[in-house]
Symmetry: C2
Subunit: 166 residues, 2 copies
Amino acid sequence: MAGTGLDPIDRKILAELQADGRMTNVELARRVGISAPPCLRRVRTLEEQGYIRGYHAEVDPRRLSFEVQVFAMVGLQSQAQSDLSAFEERCGKWPLVRECHMLNGEVDFILKCVAPDLSTFQDFLTSELLAAPNVGSVKTSLVIRGAKDEPGVPFEVLEERLSRSA
Amino acid sequence: MAGTGLDPIDRKILAELQADGRMTNVELARRVGISAPPCLRRVRTLEEQGYIRGYHAEVDPRRLSFEVQVFAMVGLQSQAQSDLSAFEERCGKWPLVRECHMLNGEVDFILKCVAPDLSTFQDFLTSELLAAPNVGSVKTSLVIRGAKDEPGVPFEVLEERLSRSA
DNA sequence: GCTGAAATCGCCTAACG
DNA sequence: CGTTAGGCGATTTCAGC
């Protein structure tokens, strides 16, 4: 089932907090149409049950001199479970690697990386990523410009879906 | 220059708010070692100057029945500026497309998409993405499992960089 | 069970030094 | 940047549906 265990108010709360994570509880309560105490209880429950993983300020990478963003497609030599896990663990320790996803198809992993400049990334690429055990091929693509970067999930799609099945 | 115009306290503020965007101002002030009012002034300034773009609750897609995550590599037929922009604008209107980045190399764009299930994504792929004007080739890769997904920038790298150049 | 109302507590956020 | 101080939000308690 979709949206398991969540009523329309819960979903509205999630949508509002995804859009503005620093909204005050009273404002949130006003928007979802209930009073503050039950609203806060719902938020706490959503946090405890893992619907909300955390809250983050969205920081502009460029303003902090992270000028370079790169996607790296990584192919491993061995795809044994332990080797896949070993690579994932390694990615977890590289701060320049912000995301690591295992894929189906030709390539094993896609990595989203940031770096202050190209030479920093190249250093990382040659000294760390390509030098890591079991790494076969790496194809990198520089991000020329970002056109869309929406954090989170599209609640509009969820709501439309629920109204269909209702 | 790196970290232009930011002192160590500003950078600490950004790092803390990136890690916990709902931290109270007094707690934030305590952590960065100043009193609350100047801390709040700094936060407001960082917001106004674009260092902080916003605050978001991190919602678990799976908990909301978005089971499928896909990367799509898109090649266009024409790479004229107006055609690139037209495609970007189109991506902005597709809720399933959460990210759209223009790349160098063989492929023109990489798209990060989410969907409730595979058939929903396939519908989108055939009826929307492949049907869009000027779209040449699309290669999709399903995310088998997510291994790392850290929002934001690695402040550790920034700090190390600044201490080097000091 | 849930929600809402009232009251307390703590934080936010001005004004000033 | 710090201190003070007033107003508002957060959060607990308790009553009602």
